[in-house]
């Protein structure tokens, strides 16, 4: 799973985003999103938008929807902590769709203890915020899980998060 070569699941996630007609991909990068992001950056029909903070992406997705486009926001689990008011006060208050692809930290062999509290808080926070959780642990389920989450979200079924397991990405090595 922790392959140094290019795994298939990021490509499958990108394929699902294309199938969902997502046209704006906003991100604060995480290592786990690298392969998917490179594809987005290379695709001319998609706007890949670098953010300074994840909450900009929540608002950007709302603006995109107002203008008739679908967006996705890519972030690491700590980034969700930067988005709480944006999700409550914009996404939920106005019932905007919001599709987030969140790479998990702090849950599987995490070498940085500073990541653990937010990683642990993530699922209950999302739940409290009324965001549907879709966990991705099996790389073979990448396309189906994201496609299902996005379909429900853009059909008006409420905000959705795909939680990409740290087990899938591989824990980051901290070595001197």
């Amino acid at each position: 799973m922790n392959s140094q070569s290019t795994p298939a699941w990021p490509d499958e996630l990108f394929r699902a985003l294309r199938a969902l007609d997502v046209r704006q991909i906003a991100y604060v990068p995480d290592a786990g999103h690298k392969q998917l992001l490179n594809q987005a950056l290379a695709e001319p029909s998609i706007e890949a938008i670098a953010l300074t903070t994840e909450q900009e992406g929540v608002a950007l997705a709302a603006g995109a929807w107002l203008g008739g486009q679908r967006a996705a926001v890519l972030m690491q689990s700590s980034g969700l902590g930067n988005c709480v008011n944006a999700i409550a006060s914009i996404t939920r208050a106005c019932q905007f769709p919001l599709l987030m692809l969140i790479t998990m930290r702090g849950e599987w062999g995490e070498g940085n203890p500073w990541q653990v509290p937010m990683g642990t808080a993530l699922a209950p926070v999302l739940d409290t915020m009324g965001v549907h959780l879709n966990r991705l642990e099996d790389p073979g389920a990448a396309y189906a899980t994201l496609h299902a989450a996005g379909t429900q979200c853009f059909a008006g079924g409420g905000p959705a998060a795909l939680l990409i397991s740290q087990r899938l990405i591989g824990a980051k090595a901290f070595v001197e």
Partner: protein
């Protein structure tokens, strides 16, 4: 010392003969200012999400490249979302303009001074982020010129418009964001979901 201009007159001038301009307003004062001019199907008013007006406008501008988008927001709101100026400048939309109604105060919460009353210069910040047409406006002619600039389109532009302190009467637009969202999309010919 706050500026000489009257905020309602400034916003009325920016929105004069607005054509098919799309408008996003920041929570608080600028939402009331826009409503005082006239409620409009092409207005999306934020009643929350402080710091996020410019990012909302960017998503809209990218989705509607044929339409001009204007974000009108407060200095306090802009200070909370300063990073979004970097995001806008680096993305470089050609249909997004920003106007900050800068009273140097958090008017909505009791007129506490913001950093623009002190050392902070929002137009210089926008410029340093890469929005090359960034200006501070202190007279009405400057507002009229900026109105022409933002309707003309082209590279993103930014103005910090110095206005008097003091809150005019509150004029409330619809507070149901779900309704305003549907209304905004319908005016663009977009469907319900």
């Amino acid at each position: 010392m706050s500026g000489p201009l009257e905020r309602r007159a400034v916003v009325a001038e920016l929105l004069r003969e607005r054509g098919d301009l799309l408008l996003v307003t920041g929570l608080g004062g600028t939402t009331w200012d826009a409503a005082a001019v006239a409620d409009h199907d092409n207005n999306f008013y934020l009643w929350g999400g402080m710091g996020l007006a410019v990012a909302t406008g960017l998503g809209l501008a990218l989705a509607q490249p044929q339409r001009q988008v204007l974000v009108i927001t407060g200095d306090g709101e802009m200070l909370m979302g300063m990073g979004s100026l970097a995001t806008v400048a680096n993305r470089g939309p050609t249909n997004l303009a920003i106007a900050v109604i800068d009273n140097e105060r958090y008017g909505e919460t009791g007129e506490q001074l913001t950093h623009t009353a002190g050392t902070t210069d929002l137009a210089a910040i926008a410029l340093a982020n890469g929005i090359s047409d960034s200006r501070e406006i202190t007279d009405f002619d400057g507002v009229t010129t900026y109105r022409e600039r933002l309707h003309a389109g082209g590279d993103s532009c930014f103005a910090a418009i110095k206005v008097q302190a003091g809150n005019p009467t509150m004029v409330l637009p619809p507070r149901d964001g779900i309704m305003v969202k549907y209304r905004f999309r319908a005016a663009l010919g977009l469907g319900g979901v």
